[in-house]
């Protein structure tokens, strides 16, 4: 073990050891094989080794708790937590903890030295993928610079060049030293999207800055975004209502999101709840889109007998145009599809014109799910755990509100003509963020104009009702 002998101060000593200052110590260490369990100990030195470009002050906050450990078990627990904290900074490939008795002139009989041996990530990592999608191929180039200036800042650049469209994104992330959950992100992007359900194609070029911070038990995000949107028709047969929306608009919006998530996992949670409320105000900081948009997401999970989980979710939102201008098709809400009300075509519920779905200014959607492990539990504790069977009941409505009427009329509008569906299927978890579903759905309450997908429906995505 190598450590720099610090100034003889009690308590908060930290030896930081850059690679090119390796001190070779004559190691004549007697291994003290004392049983230290449950014996009061004092952590004398906490060292971090293997630092190159990372600045020391950043790490002090993450490891400071270790000094307060009182006995060996506590030291091990706190070191483990500190290791997790160091890993979540995203700048180290590997962190190992070594706990040993103190050495040196000022070593106390019950003193301990804790050393974190870290391996920093490379300065620059690149990735190259090719993707093949709906009649389109593209190559994706990604470049990541973790820990650019030494305080866990991260710069990423992604560029996708396809047969139909090109998109790119540059993003810079900076956490506050000592408070990783408080961070700032700056993004610059150009993305193109094609929406065949509305015969619309949209190119967004934008810049956004985002500030995340926790407040008591909630997480908040404040974001300003400026986007130049270019809308166009995807086909000559697009309806005139969509053609009228073609052109350029500029949206400059401030948004705030509050979320509380105490589920034990994002996919297949067994218990806990999620509440996310988002509001967006556009038009007061420039641009020509002017509206106030509110939407929320609620999910509650509860474990039942035999490893099955009952999950209920509710989504809703409304868009209020300000200043008399009608809302743009790019800002409205959409409903339907394998990720929202199952049994209906993708975003194919609600106001439409000649087969193109225009979206609506207000919506709500609810789902009730029962998840059970696969029958007979094949592949238990291994591959089989990635699957679940689920039985679901989904309902929802999407419409445009006439804001001249009162709230009573609005609620009435949203309550009439409810679309709903029920069915069962199999869900597969992908990593920790996405899931695949294969369902058999029976849609009900179908209104004229909606497109349904009864029978087998396949869905893949990140956010499901």
């Amino acid at each position: 073990m190598q450590s720099m002998d610090p100034l003889p101060m009690h308590g908060r000593d930290m030896g930081v050891h850059p690679d090119d200052m390796i001190e070779v110590q004559e190691a004549e260490q007697e291994t003290k094989q004392e049983v230290l369990e449950n014996k009061d100990v004092v952590v004398q030195h906490v060292n971090i080794e293997g630092l190159g470009r990372t600045k020391e002050d950043l790490l002090g906050y993450e490891i400071s708790e270790v000094f307060h450990a009182k006995n060996l078990v506590d030291v091990m627990k706190k070191s483990h937590i500190a290791r997790q904290k160091l890993l979540r900074l995203g700048i180290f490939k590997e962190v190992e903890v070594v706990i040993d008795t103190s050495d040196g002139a000022d070593a106390l009989p019950n003193g301990l030295d804790v050393t974190f041996e870290v391996t920093e990530m490379k300065r620059l990592t690149g990735s190259y993928n090719t993707m093949v999608g709906n009649n389109e191929g593209s190559m994706v180039l990604g470049v990541k610079l973790p820990n650019v200036f030494g305080r866990a800042e991260k710069l990423t650049f992604q560029f996708s060049y396809g047969t139909k469209e090109t998109s790119y994104g540059l993003s810079f992330f900076k956490p506050q030293p000592g408070n990783f959950e408080r961070n700032l992100a700056l993004n610059l992007y150009k993305v193109t999207g094609q929406f065949p359900w509305s015969s619309l194609k949209e190119t967004d070029r934008g810049v956004s800055t985002e500030l995340n911070f926790p407040l008591w038990r909630t997480n908040h995000t404040l974001k300003w975004e400026g986007v130049w949107r270019e809308l166009g028709c995807l086909a000559r047969s697009a309806s005139f209502a969509v053609r009228e929306e073609s052109g350029h608009t500029l949206k400059s919006a401030l948004s705030h999101t509050m979320s509380i998530d105490n589920r034990n996992s994002a996919i297949f949670p067994k218990k806990g709840a999620l509440l996310r409320i988002n509001q967006e105000l556009a038009g007061y900081t420039g641009g020509d889109a002017s509206f106030l948009k509110e939407d929320f997401e609620l999910q509650v999970n509860r474990r039942l007998v035999w490893d099955s989980v009952l999950s209920a979710s509710l989504w809703g939102g409304c868009l209020l145009p300000i200043g008399g201008r009608p809302s743009s098709i790019a800002d409205r809400f959409y409903l339907g599809g394998p990720t929202s009300v199952r049994g209906f075509g993708m975003y194919s519920i609600g106001p439409q014109s000649e087969g193109d779905y225009l979206g609506g200014e207000a919506y709500w959607a609810g789902g009730l799910h029962l998840y059970t492990p696969l029958p007979f539990r094949p592949g238990r504790a291994g591959f089989g755990d990635l699957f679940r069977t689920h039985f679901f009941l989904n309902a929802g409505n999407l419409c445009n509100l006439n804001y001249g009427e009162g709230p009573r009329a609005h609620l009435q509008r949203l309550a009439e003509c409810i679309r709903w569906s029920y069915g069962a299927g199999i869900v597969l978890r992908l990593g920790n963020i996405a899931r695949l579903e294969l369902n058999y759905c029976i849609p009900m309450g179908v209104q004229s104009g909606d497109r349904i997908c009864d029978g087998v429906q396949f869905g893949a995505g990140i956010r499901f009702l």
Binding site: W228, G232, F240, R243, E244, S246, G247, H248, L250, D288
Partner: protein
Amino acid sequence: MCNLPVHVSCRSNAEYMSPSGKVPFVHVGNQVVSELGPIVQFTKAKGHSLSDGLDDVQRAEMKAYMELVNNMLLTAELYIQWCDDTTATEISRPRYSSPYSWPLNQILAYQKQWEVRRKMNAIGWAGKSLEQVYEDVSQCCQALSQRLGTQPYFFNKQPTELDALVFGHLFTILTTRLTSDELGEKIKSYSNLLAFCRRIEQSYFEDSQAGSSSRGYSKGPSLF
């Protein structure tokens, strides 16, 4: 001129709404047809045409003159608006960017300017000076004036597509405010063209005073 009911609607995104990217376009029932050629064909397929009375020779002549107008007048209009720096800065860019907010208005106006200049480069007009362009316009007007002669319309008694096209361009040139009046003056120097424009304006655009349904906007420019 075909006596078809039409409603003119002005939209800031008309250029983008059009399937080919160019105005004018018409929206009839479910169909959207853009640019003069296809519109004429479309109305012809529905049974309305202005050039039914022409024989093949005259029709070929009409097409030739329409090409002349498109190549000369249209290009000259684009040149003057976007390649002449004073006009571009004082008139074209502010007008083009007016529906949008900053910074989008600057981006779009400059984008349009680069696009037009690139097109001018491609057809070889970039090297021309403003004087040369005025000369070209003058020559084109001379050809039109000679063809018109003393007749009320280009092909004697009835207006044809050529009359509509020529009226459209000349009327626009005469009523658009530019940095100098030189272009307008050049056209006015051909008195029969001026009379031609006035005649068409009177016959077709002033007959419905109340409502102005054939105009669609409450007060438009006028030659008077």
